[in-house]
């Protein structure tokens, strides 16, 4: 049998975050955040997860002028406002 997976995110499912969360859409350029929850249609959520944006992932916000430009797992993603409004994140300190 292959070794059991270490699933760090599962332990966090029950722990309610005591730090503040906000919508990804509210984050400013240059900030960094961790994804807490994704609330959008199943199709889009699937695509986001396949692109590497899932709960527990860290994202850098690059640009917010047009749609939102993010860096996720080393890839640049442009996300429309309808989607970023549905993603809840936990902001971290701004990028150095």
């Amino acid at each position: 049998m292959p070794p059991a997976l270490a699933l760090p995110t599962l332990q966090q499912n029950d722990a309610q975050p005591t730090r503040t969360t906000c919508a990804l859409a509210a984050c400013r350029a240059g900030s960094r955040a961790t994804v807490v929850d994704i609330e959008c249609s199943a199709d889009e959520a699937c695509r986001l997860r396949a692109l590497g944006l899932c709960e527990g992932t860290s994202v850098n916000v690059i640009d917010t002028r047009h749609a939102m430009l993010l860096e996720v797992r080393g890839t640049r993603l442009a996300l429309g406002s309808a989607i970023t409004a549905g993603i809840t994140v936990q902001p971290q300190s701004a990028q150095a």
Binding site: M1, P2, P3, A4, L5, A6, L7, P8, T9, L10, N13, D14, I38, C40, S41, A42, D43, E44, A45, C46, R47, L48, R49, A50, L51, G52, C54, E55, G56, D63, R65, H66, A67, L69, R73, G74, T75, R76, L77, A78, L79, G80, S81, A82, I83
Partner: protein
């Protein structure tokens, strides 16, 4: 995992399924290629197959199906199918659905691969492994191509390939597709993999989750999936919405999903995220053991280019520059080549014709066949240039930036950011523009774009505008440098554009109504496109055009020739040749068609002569001018505009004695041509790009129909409205 999985189809079944491969021989091996977009998958496919490719459509959908073949290490013929780029098998789009069906052997063609080649971008191992991990659980042998290995090395990403092979349990071959490196080892790996047992899941689910999914797995195996594929599917369907059509297709699946979801929740998991959590947890472990990244201190070249490309001011400026360049290339640079082709065909036709006795056969060959072939080949320079430009923009990565910048504007009319390039090229020619819509993933956005591209005033409308403006619009200066003639021309262009955007908005709210897909776009790093791969793609597009559209255009050219030539009229041989042609035309089938539709066009102010020209111009808009030239006996009007213009001004209506053509009629006629789809080449291409077969023809018919209604209505409004307002009719 030590137990051998039984093969999912017997050897005799597989042998029975094999069809002819390279050069008509039976394929020794069938390979399906899958991978994320932007991994160089197509470059790898092109490197394997060269020009030995065939492009078609998957049955019943607009997804393109590209199949090719190559020779294995010992010369064995191998058939390879390029599946659409997918981020996962989670079936969010028709592309991904088709990929899954093919891999499970459930597509309509029953093309089950012997080996699946998963193309991974070495720079983005973690994200790419998501798809790979799903594919590795389908019960088919897998080989991984670790592509763009050179870029990874340059960026300081070191991958321990033997360790990766150990972790994945499948052969992994580093490749640099655009330089053809790693191709031979890859071919050997494919043959070796076909003899190995199929890979299995490389991680174990937590026990509680495993139990929770048991009934779901049973439901899927009852539907005919192998145990291992049912394992994969059970994870996948957890993420689907309740109303997904797929869930309804398998008996009891929807309920089983609900049951499993409830059980998972009790065990402390969130069903919708479960698959991504377990897969990414495994991926993190694999990446941790195999990848070491040298810490990069500076910004990459790609980031520096993006600083300009996405800049608040320079971004749109650069975009404008690129668009002007593309437009200029398609519009102007193609012209000398197009003239060259026309000259070549014309000369060849005359040379052949001079060897033949005068008569119908010569006329058929020269005026029918050669003219028809010429009208097909003349598109090739524009198609080649446009697709080269698009290829460079796509493969370099700039296209994604362009789509990002244009998205907000296009979204207002319900179109996609990527609709911009097809519409822009429609100003030159709708044919390559419509072919270019395949870069738009969403089928509804793509169809909406296809429906309106022909409204952008193409270069073929120019001769019509030039003739009518030259004859009937006075050359008065409005402001220094701008004449009324120029302004009228510009007005026609703007009219087409404005209506195109409006019609697109209407389509997206009615027939092609769909949720306006919010943008999820990957901006890949900038890279140099591979010239060889680009050349292969462009040549293939041209071949496709000649084979498909070409045959339609040629046949219709011959039909129109016949309609103009028969029945034979007794011409007065004392008249000049041009006048003889005029007589012949009047008595031919085409002439009768013109007379028959005269009542229809009279409300627009036209007579049977314009009617014939309009009918003939169905082949191509430029034919309007040459037919008018024939009817008015001025011979080849395309070289002698002034003669035809003068003739039109003098023409008197036989009944009323008043001028037959007035500025009002001319404007109305131009407006008619702004909107009417008088181009069988466009129709031929629409048929294909809208899905081929009945589906394609239905959309093409709709396109022709609505544009004709628009054209007639607008021309009538201009004419009747103008008369009502007191302009001379």
């Amino acid at each position: 995992m030590t137990s051998l999985q039984p093969p999912t189809s017997t050897d005799s079944q597989r042998a029975a399924q094999r069809r002819g491969g390279a050069g008509g021989e039976r394929a020794s091996l069938r390979v399906a290629i899958i991978g994320n977009p932007n991994t160089g998958k197509t470059t790898l496919f092109n490197a394997l197959t060269g020009l030995r490719q065939r492009v078609g459509n998957f049955a019943g959908v607009t997804v393109e199906r590209v199949e090719g073949n190559f020779r294995g290490p010992d010369g064995q013929p191998v058939a390879v199918l390029d599946l659409p780029g997918s981020y996962s098998l989670s079936a969010g789009s028709p592309d991904e659905q088709i990929a899954l069906e093919v891999l499970l052997g459930r597509d309509k063609d029953r093309w089950r691969p012997d080996v699946v080649l998963v193309v991974i971008n070495a720079m983005h191992l973690d994200r790419n492994l998501f798809l790979a991990s799903q594919v590795m659980e389908l019960g088919v042998p897998v080989v991984v191509a670790l592509n763009q290995f050179d870029v990874a090395e340059a960026e300081g990403v070191a991958i321990d390939v033997p360790e990766l092979i150990h972790e994945l349990g499948v052969p992994v071959v580093p490749t640099v597709a655009k330089r053809g490196e790693g191709i031979e080892p890859l071919k050997r790996a494919l043959f070796i993999a076909a003899t190995l047992p199929a890979p299995t899941r490389r991680f174990a689910l937590p026990a509680a989750a495993d139990t929770a999914l048991a009934s779901l797995r049973d439901c899927l195996t009852a539907d005919g999936l192998s145990p291992i594929a049912a394992d994969m599917e059970s994870l996948r369907v957890l993420g689907m919405s309740r109303t997904d059509a797929h869930l309804a297709q398998v008996p009891g699946l929807a309920d089983a999903v609900i049951e499993a979801s409830d059980a998972l929740r009790i065990a402390g998991f969130v069903p919708a995220r479960f698959e991504s959590e377990v897969r990414y947890a495994w991926i993190s472990e694999v990446v941790g053991k195999t990848v070491t990244t040298r810490v990069n201190t500076g910004r990459s070249l790609s980031d520096r280019i993006d600083a300009i490309a996405l800049h608040r001011f320079y971004g749109p400026a650069l975009f404008l520059l690129v668009m002007v360049l593309v437009f200029q290339a398609v519009f102007s640079w193609a012209t000398p080549m197009m003239d060259g082709i026309e000259w070549l065909i014309g000369t060849a036709g005359k040379a052949i014709g001079s060897q033949m006795p005068a008569g119908d056969l010569r006329s058929l060959i020269v005026d029918g066949v050669f003219a028809g072939v010429g009208s097909v080949l003349v598109f090739l320079p524009q198609i080649a240039i446009l697709f080269t430009a698009i290829g460079v923009l796509e493969h370099s990565g700039y296209m994604a930036r362009a789509a990002y910048l244009m998205d907000r504007v296009m979204r207002k009319v319900g179109l996609h950011g990527k609709s911009f390039i097809p519409m822009l090229s429609g100003y030159a020619c709708a044919v390559p523009g419509i072919m270019a819509t395949r870069t738009i993933e969403d089928p509804k956005d793509r169809l909406a774009t296809i429906m309106v591209v022909p409204l952008m005033s193409c270069s073929a409308r120019l001769p019509v505008y030039t003739l009518l403006i030259g004859a009937f619009v006075p050359p008065i200066a409005l402001v220094p440098g701008v004449t009324l003639q120029g302004a009228t021309m510009l007005f026609m262009y703007l009219l087409g554009t404005a209506v195109a955007l409006g019609i697109a908005a209407i389509f997206k709210r009615t027939l092609l109504k769909g949720p306006v897909r919010p943008m999820i776009l990957e901006l890949p790093p900038f890279r140099w496109p591979s010239p060889r791969s680009l050349a292969v793609s462009v040549v293939q597009r041209c071949q496709l055009f000649v084979r498909r559209a070409g045959t339609v255009i040629l046949s219709l050219s011959i039909v129109l020739w016949a309609m103009a030539t028969y029945p034979k009229a007794t011409v007065d041989a004392t008249l000049p040749v041009a006048a003889q042609q005029e007589q012949q035309l009047e008595h031919s089938v085409l002439g009768h068609v013109g007379k028959a539709i005269e009542p229809l066009v009279r409300p627009l102010g036209y007579d049977w002569k314009i009617g014939v020209s309009i009918a003939a111009s169905f082949a191509a808009r430029e034919v309007f001018v040459s037919t008018m030239g024939t009817i008015y006996g001025v011979g080849d009007a395309s070289t002698d505009d002034e003669a035809l213009q003068a003739r039109l001004k003098r023409e008197r209506n036989a009944v009323t004695g008043k001028p037959a053509y007035t500025p009002l009629i001319a404007i109305g006629l131009m407006v008619f041509y702004v909107f009417a789809l008088m181009c069988m080449s466009t129709i031929a291409v629409t048929v294909r790009e809208a899905g081929g077969g009945r589906l394609g023809w239905s959309w093409a018919a709709l396109q022709f129909g609505y544009m004709l209604v628009l054209a007639y209505g607008a021309a009538w409004i201009v004419y009747a409205g103008g008369k009502a307002l007191g302009f001379a009719g």
